[in-house]
Amino acid sequence: MTLELANVLFAATAAVYLAASVLFVGELGGHLLAAARWAPRLVALGVPLHAAQIVVWSMVLHVCPVEGIHFALSVASMFVCFVYAIARLRFRVDVVGAFVAPQALAFLLASRFVGPVDDEPRLRSAILPFHVASSLLGIALFTLAFAAAVGYLLQEHRLKNKNLARIQRLPPIDALDRAEHRFLVAGFPLLTIGILTGTIWAREIEAGSLPGIARAVLSYASWALIGGVLLLRAAAGWRGRRAAVGAILGFGLAMLVLAFYLVRSLVGGVHA
């Protein structure tokens, strides 16, 4: 019964995210303009379905949702959609959903079909839930900052090229800049907590492998980069294109860190 429910919820969530993705992509391409206004609402509808799917699926597998990296990414993508559904009302940056919906769909599918569920007792620690939760929420916010930054660069390119026919499909460039900044500001403390707890956790399990050191270096680099972007904006008025590029690079480094986890999970290597 629980398995059937999990399957139904999985199919419904995937269908909703897929529909939203199609509408967003269609809108960006100048099609489906009338129907595209439903796309952000579909993402919002996907959040409770996704959450229910995670809970039921974790009951089926008898694991905590944040313990496996694929599962955890699905949780992170659900956080992304949740924050998007709330933030879009304030920042009026619906277009960010064009990135949010496909990534949520991709991580949802990955949680089900790719890789094993990670359950190594050796890696369990009291600090692990704090590390995973803050990292996931931080990644969710950086994902949104990344999407807003990409939207910013796209809109800026159109404005600089005087492509007036196409600028109307994206939100005001200031809205994208502001949204990107707010997402970074909100995500930075979480990233900081994630890195601190990650460092303590690594010490606890006495890990010191080369991939672990590389991952730690990348984590510190992404923290320094995003911190630098925020500092320069506050101190020297760095905004717009430079801030957008900084946000994209910071997100890229954070993704590299995640890639280390994914590779470790796939090859069954030793953490940290």
Binding site: I167, A175, D177, R239
Partner: protein, 450 residues
């Protein structure tokens, strides 16, 4: 009853003449009262915009058509200060019947506007309608025609892209600013120059802005314009400092060389801490150095950039004209079916009234004589039988008459034949008078699809 339109527009008359005939809110009631007072006109509406002045009226049939048109010409001439209607004649157009209905519908749908698809005309027609209703000059058929025009205009805007895109420099500039700033009403607009072009652009951009500032080489001229536009005049020497405060700069000075340089904007952007800055440079020669556009978070659009978008918008709207005209044709056809139905309605009502009167009179006579012995129940049954007989007998003729009116425009002849055969002229006249008061029109309103 025939609907007529007499008027002039940007297509037929120069602005010098149009402005003489424009009736503002204060003059409109008097003009309407004079027109409504003309016995040749059953209903009337006076539409006055900067591009057109028209009288839309309902005249009492073909026989009164010439007198009705002459009356309107006369009142227009009087209103415009002309000695006679003949002086205006070369500039006036006259539409009657189907053509007049189509004209009213096209005007409301903005198909006859100087800027195709502009939305203001519908509001202006609504104002004219409200004024005419308030003056008691619109009651039945013409009122229905104009209210149908509103529904049609809405339909055209919904079903076609006639109102899409931006088709004026000012509206393109506003749209551009909206794509940069999320909260345009919190922004400061700076006007460089105080000429007519600057004024027009600033009226659009400054309307929703937090503050409008005017900077001109001649401070006095800036101060005059600032007073007109409830703005603040600033000295020319303070231009660079103003660039730090402003978010949108509309430049239109007559300077032969750029007045805003790259170095100036670079310094301003440092002080602005990178906040976005938009230049709308509508001056020729340009007022803003083109290199300014390369600075981060600064956008410079000149008149060519904006006109390109205007051209695109106009082209897109013109592509929608055929679809819009098809909707107009459809709505005109529906309205004409309704009005032709009105033509035969008095005859139908009179025919039924006469049949009932004759049969019930005979029934009364019988019930008072040979059938006096009948019980109350039997009398009621007999009355019901006569009522039912009238309905069944007249159902066929009245349905056919109405159907004929819906399909063809010769139903009036058929109705006249019915009136002649059943001697209904007097009864029909009574009904016609009642319809003039809008009673019958209201009954029939329900038959016209909304």
């Amino acid at each position: 009853m025939i609907i007529v339109v007499v008027g002039l527009s940007h297509r037929t008359a120069p602005v010098e003449l149009r402005e003489r005939l424009v009736a503002g809110a204060d003059a409109l009631p008097a003009v309407l009262a004079r027109l409504a007072g003309r016995e040749e006109l059953a209903e009337v509406m006076f539409l006055s915009t900067c591009n057109r002045v028209e009288v839309v009226a309902l005249v009492h049939g073909e026989g009164a058509l010439d007198q009705g048109l002459a009356a309107i010409r006369e009142e227009l001439a009087r209103h415009g200060g002309a000695a006679s209607g003949d002086q205006l004649a070369p500039y006036l157009y006259e539409k009657r019947g189907d053509e007049a209905v189509r004209h009213v519908f096209r005007v409301a749908a903005s198909l006859d506007s100087m800027v195709l698809g502009e939305p203001q005309i519908l509001g202006q027609v609504k104002d004219a309608y409200d004024a005419a209703v308030a003056a008691g000059a619109l009651r039945g058929t013409l009122g229905r025609c104009v209210s149908r025009a509103f529904a049609l205009a809405k339909r055209v805007r919904t079903e076609t892209a006639i109102g899409a895109g931006t088709v004026s420099i000012s509206s393109v500039a506003v749209e551009l600013a909206r794509r940069i700033f999320v909260d345009l009403d919190e922004r400061v607009v700076l006007l460089l120059g105080a000429g007519e072009m600057a004024e027009a652009a600033a009226r659009s951009l400054g309307k929703g802005a937090r503050a409008l500032r005017i900077c001109n080489r001649s401070f006095d001229r800036a101060a005059v314009l600032a007073r007109e536009m409830q703005a603040a005049a600033v000295p020319w020497e303070g231009l660079e400092a103003e660039l730090v405060q402003a978010d949108v700069v509309v430049a239109s000075t007559a300077s032969a060389r750029p007045v805003v340089t790259r170095d100036m904007v670079r310094r301003a952007m440092k002080a602005r801490r990178g906040r976005s800055l938009l230049f709308v440079d509508i001056a020729v020669p340009r007022n803003v150095e083109p290199e300014v556009h390369a600075i981060d978070n600064v956008y410079v659009y000149n008149v060519d950039d904006l006109e390109e978008e205007v051209g695109r918008g106009m082209k897109a709207r013109h592509a929608e004209v055929d679809a819009a005209e098809a909707i107009v044709a459809d709505e005109v056809a529906q309205f004409l079916v309704w009005t032709r139905g009105l033509e035969v309605q008095p005859t139908v009502v009179a025919l039924r009234a006469k049949a009932r009167a004759v049969l019930f009179s005979e029934l009364e006579r019988s019930l008072g004589g040979r059938l006096k012995h009948l019980a109350e129940g039997d009398r009621a049954a007999l009355t019901q039988m006569v009522e039912s007989g009238v309905n069944k007998l007249l159902h066929g003729p009245t349905t056919k008459l109405k159907a004929r009116a819906a399909e063809r425009d010769d139903a009036g002849d058929l109705a006249a034949a019915v009136r002649f055969l059943f001697d209904l002229e007097e009864a029909a006249a009574v009904q016609q008078a009642a319809r003039g008061e809008g009673e019958t029109a209201r009954d029939d309103d329900e038959r016209l699809p909304n």
